[in-house]
Assembly symmetry: C2
Homo-oligomer: 175 residues x 2
Amino acid sequence: MNLKDTIRTIPDFPKPGIMYRDITTLLTNRRAFAEAVIQLAAPYMTQDIDNVAGIEARGFTFGAVVAYELGAGFVPIRKKGKLPFDTYEQDYELEYGTDTVEIHADAIRKGERVLLIDDLIATGGTAEAAIKLLRQTGAEVVGAAFVIDLPDLGGLSKITKMGIPVTALVAFEGH
Amino acid sequence: MNLKDTIRTIPDFPKPGIMYRDITTLLTNRRAFAEAVIQLAAPYMTQDIDNVAGIEARGFTFGAVVAYELGAGFVPIRKKGKLPFDTYEQDYELEYGTDTVEIHADAIRKGERVLLIDDLIATGGTAEAAIKLLRQTGAEVVGAAFVIDLPDLGGLSKITKMGIPVTALVAFEGH
């Protein structure tokens, strides 16, 4: 099973010049989906993960399944205004302007071991913001795992510099 | 394990008079999370489910895990404009105005057996729109399962009238 072959590329979405990596074709392939989950979870099987955090919205998909596979809880990191209880929030830069992600302030107890999951890492700006949020809760972020890496954008090295081991299952050159 | 006790109620969110049922406290409770997934999946274990569909964003969480547990693929149903390939779309009514959900037109092959999952059913408007989308793809919708039902809003009977077996794990009176 070559996971990369199950991901569809759509040129010029959402705007001209962007090669969009469409993970939905992986998700509907039951064998590829199971294989991706197992590859994401494998390095953490014996690492006593308390919670897996996933970033809205596509990160909920893999994040929740990896949490279940590891026997951990799941913590959603959401766009601003979606979480109903007290939150921490963190801004991050987009190509134009900024966006904000939030986490429930009581989602994680101090010292809990947390794994961050998202479907794709590009510049790493969103993942960096998510890790800052997790650290605000007192979590020990023990790793970050992504299905797709766009290595030309340097996201993995940004996260490594935060002292966090990172893995990605497939890489696509360009962006 | 009483699943209902793991769900937090937040009064007056997102607006006065609404009792918001907060599933994040269930998700971070690893035993409750696993129990909910198993209860959602159990009736479908021997039903040859090809794909599980989940509705953005909270439906991605349970939908993906139930898909994994059943050895099925996962199909995301998203808000308009998020899916990159050819889509079918379906409007549904909100309290004020309408909203639109989409599905990839090629996500499901004709005759495939599909289970719909969402975290909560209220009036059933979103679930009804999701089922119409699934039927447009040629799917056989063999069931719909929800974590939370708000029975005073009548959603389950709306879906039953579409000829689809429905289950919900817990019910909260009022809305």
